[in-house]
Symmetry: C2
Subunit: 157 residues, 2 copies
C-alpha cells in the first residue's frame, strides 16, 4: 500500500480529476420517497462549481428539482473524489448562464446548445459543500479536503 | 462510435464485470428523509446475487436497514453495468450465511471474518431486479438485460 498523500498532493490530484477532459461523475440523487438514483454524467468544472446537463424528464433532473442535494463520485473506485453538493443554479438550457455552458462544453467536448433537442435539457450548477479524496484505507484519515463549502486549511503546511 | 453490441455479448460482458476479481461497485442508497448516499464498495457475485459487506454504522448499512432498495453502478462510466437491486438477506457478520461470505472473500480478496472488528460488519445479499448495460448513446436501446428479476429473452436469438 502506498504511503498516504499529503494534503496538497490530494488537493492537486482531486482538481486534476475534476478538470480532466471528458470527466464523468457517478451522480447519486434521491426522490422525495427515498429512492436512490444513480447515473454517470459528463461534468464541467467552472473553478468552484460542477455543471451537469441532463434531460428534464430524467430521474436525476426530477430529483434535483425537488431537493437540491446531490452526491457525486469521480475518479476510480480506488482513487476516489467524492463530492457532496448543492444545486445553486438551475435553468432550462435556453435560459442557462452562458459561462456554465461554456465550461461544460469546453470540458466535455459536447455542447448541448448544438443538440437538436436542446430545449429538453436542464442545466444544474452544483456547489461542493464537502469534498473528500482517498485511494486506500490509509487515506481515510485526512480525506476531507473541503468542508462547509470551503477548502480546509492544510494540516501540515 | 463502435456498433452496438448484440444482447448475448452485452450479457457476457456484464457478467465479466460482475465476476471480475476485486470488482467494485458505486453503491447508491437513500435515507428515509430523501438524502442520497454513494460510496464505492467491493462486491461478491454469487451467481444470482451481489454480496456487500460494510460497517453497520455506515450510512449505506443504515439506509439499507430502513429500506431494501439500492442502485449499483459497475464498470466504467462509458462501459456501464447498472443494477437496481433489493436486499433479500441481511445479517450481522457472525450470523451471515457462509456461502455469501465465501463468494465475497473469494472475489474481493478480503475475508471480513478475519478482520479484528468483524463483529462491526453487516452483510447484505442484493438480488438484481433490473440490470442494464451500455457503452455509448447507440446502446441505450436494448440496454435492459434483466427485468423483474429475470434475464430478458434475447431479442435476436
Amino acid at each position: 500500500m502506498a504511503a498516504p498523500r499529503p494534503y496538497g498532493q490530494r488537493r492537486a490530484d482531486a482538481l486534476a480529476i475534476l478538470t480532466a477532459p471528458a470527466a464523468d461523475a457517478w451522480v447519486a440523487t434521491a426522490s422525495s420517497e427515498g429512492t436512490a438514483y444513480l447515473v454517470p454524467l459528463s461534468i464541467g468544472w467552472t473553478g468552484d462549481s460542477i455543471v451537469l446537463v441532463t434531460l428534464r424528464r430524467s430521474p436525476t433532473a426530477r430529483n434535483l428539482a425537488a431537493a437540491p442535494g446531490v452526491r457525486l463520485g469521480l475518479g476510480g473506485t480506488r482513487d476516489v473524489v467524492m463530492v457532496d453538493g448543492e444545486v445553486v443554479t438551475e435553468a432550462d438550457l435556453p435560459n442557462a448562464p452562458a459561462p456554465l455552458l461554456d465550461a461544460f462544453a469546453a470540458q466535455s467536448g459536447w455542447d448541448p446548445r448544438q443538440d437538436s433537442n436542446a430545449a429538453d435539457y436542464q442545466v444544474f450548477e452544483v456547489r461542493p459543500v464537502q469534498l473528500q479524496a482517498w485511494r486506500e484505507a490509509n487515506e481515510l484519515r485526512g480525506r476531507t479536503l473541503l468542508r462547509d463549502s470551503a477548502w480546509v486549511d492544510d494540516p501540515e503546511p
